[in-house]
């Protein structure tokens, strides 16, 4: 049996899709933010791997065919963005000011909390790119001498929190303007949050997509400057 699993080219894809759909079904039954399909999917996959004593490499070798589509899918985020180009043109000052303030809040709060927890410089630069998309974040962390695997972990946890809590946080802070919602979600929790923004609405999804690219690019410069502060 173990040999079959280890040699299967489809086990990872099957497990990933199955776990996600289990999450979708569970969310239909109980409409709670914590029953988030992405979250349930991740927990189920980890549970199956641990209980079945399946090596992560065996799983990922097959599941990578799904991750493979992430790059073209991100490229396609340009489509909803293009469809909202009128509201982008009309509100570009608000949009860019919002994203820039979010990036500064991210870098500033990481600085403050790292000082509070007494983290080392290495740990600090590891956390600096936590709010942006994984590929850019890894590059920045590596460049600044951070621990790339931890950066990836923190970026994923950030995205997951954004995906789960986005609606609640927007309600709590009375952010109800669709453009502002999208910018808030994309700037704070990159593509994983954007997946939620797309579910909320077309404008939210488009603005969140834009925020991934813009906040990522601003953070490249911002993190280099903030790295000198601690």
């Amino acid at each position: 049996m173990n040999l079959v699993i280890a040699n299967s080219a489809y086990i990872g894809v099957f497990l990933t899709l199955g776990a996600y759909f289990a999450g979708v079904l569970l969310q239909k039954k109980c409409r709670l933010a914590i029953f988030n399909p992405l979250m349930i999917g991740i927990v189920l996959v980890i549970a199956v791997l641990l209980m079945g004593r399946i090596d992560y490499d065996v799983y990922s070798e097959s599941a990578n065919y799904i991750s493979y589509l992430l790059t073209p899918a991100t490229v396609c985020l340009a489509i909803p963005l293009y469809q909202q180009i009128e509201s982008l043109k009309k509100n570009w000052i608000a949009i860019f000011a919002g994203i820039t303030s979010g990036v500064l809040a991210s870098l500033g709060s990481v600085l403050g909390l790292c000082l509070l927890f007494g983290f080392t410089h290495e740990q600090y630069v590891t956390l600096l790119p936590k709010s942006i998309t994984t590929a850019i974040g890894m590059g920045i962390s590596d460049e600044l001498g951070g621990i790339v695997t931890i950066t990836v972990a923190v970026i994923i946890i950030t995205g997951l929190i954004g995906n789960i809590l986005a609606e609640n946080i927007c309600r709590l802070f009375k952010i109800d303007e669709p453009i502002a919602k999208g910018i808030a979600i994309g700037t704070s929790s990159h593509a994983m949050g954007t997946a939620k923004a797309i579910e909320i609405g077309e404008i939210e999804g488009a603005m969140s997509s834009l925020s991934i690219a813009v906040s990522g690019l601003i953070t490249v410069v911002g993190a280099m400057i903030f790295a000198n502060f601690m």
Partner: protein, 146 residues
């Protein structure tokens, strides 16, 4: 296996009908393939740029910018990428599961500091969401009341 029609004229008619049906669905079938081709082509150009430009910017971001420029300049009409693009965007959440499940491998690196990592992550994520959302909303509303 074999066709049960003995009459050559009826057979020709049946063949013509199949050919006609195939032709009407062909453009549809080819549509998705063509859309996927264009999306992959743009992604590939993004990948090339990533190798040529020494910045920590991934292929996906270059690709997104190229796709956006192509659409805005109308060099690429929307209908040539729409359905396949929408499909990829809609199934995106699933694509994060494999990497996120990789947390079980990274776990050994963060075991000692996981609690402070969670605190920092939760606090900063909420803060960034509130700040960027509030700033955007305030400016939009101020320009509206003018």
């Amino acid at each position: 296996m074999y066709c049960k029609i003995d009459n050559p004229a009826a057979m020709a008619g049946a063949m013509y009908l199949t050919a006609w049906q195939a032709k009407s669905t062909e453009s549809k079938r080819m549509k998705y393939l063509k859309q996927f081709l264009i999306i992959i082509a743009v992604t590939f150009v993004g990948e090339l740029l990533k190798y040529m430009i020494p910045l920590p910017i991934p292929a996906s971001i270059y690709g997104l910018l190229i796709m956006f420029i192509l659409l805005v300049t109308k060099l690429l009409p929307l209908h040539m990428v729409k359905e396949t693009g929408d499909f990829l965007v809609k199934i995106m959440p699933v694509m994060f599961i494999p990497a996120a499940a990789g947390l079980i491998v990274i776990w050994t690196d963060i075991k000692g500091i996981w609690l402070s990592l969670i605190v920092i992550t939760v606090v900063t994520t909420i803060l960034v969401m509130a700040v960027s959302g509030k700033v955007t909303q305030a400016i939009i509303r101020r320009s509206r009341t003018k």
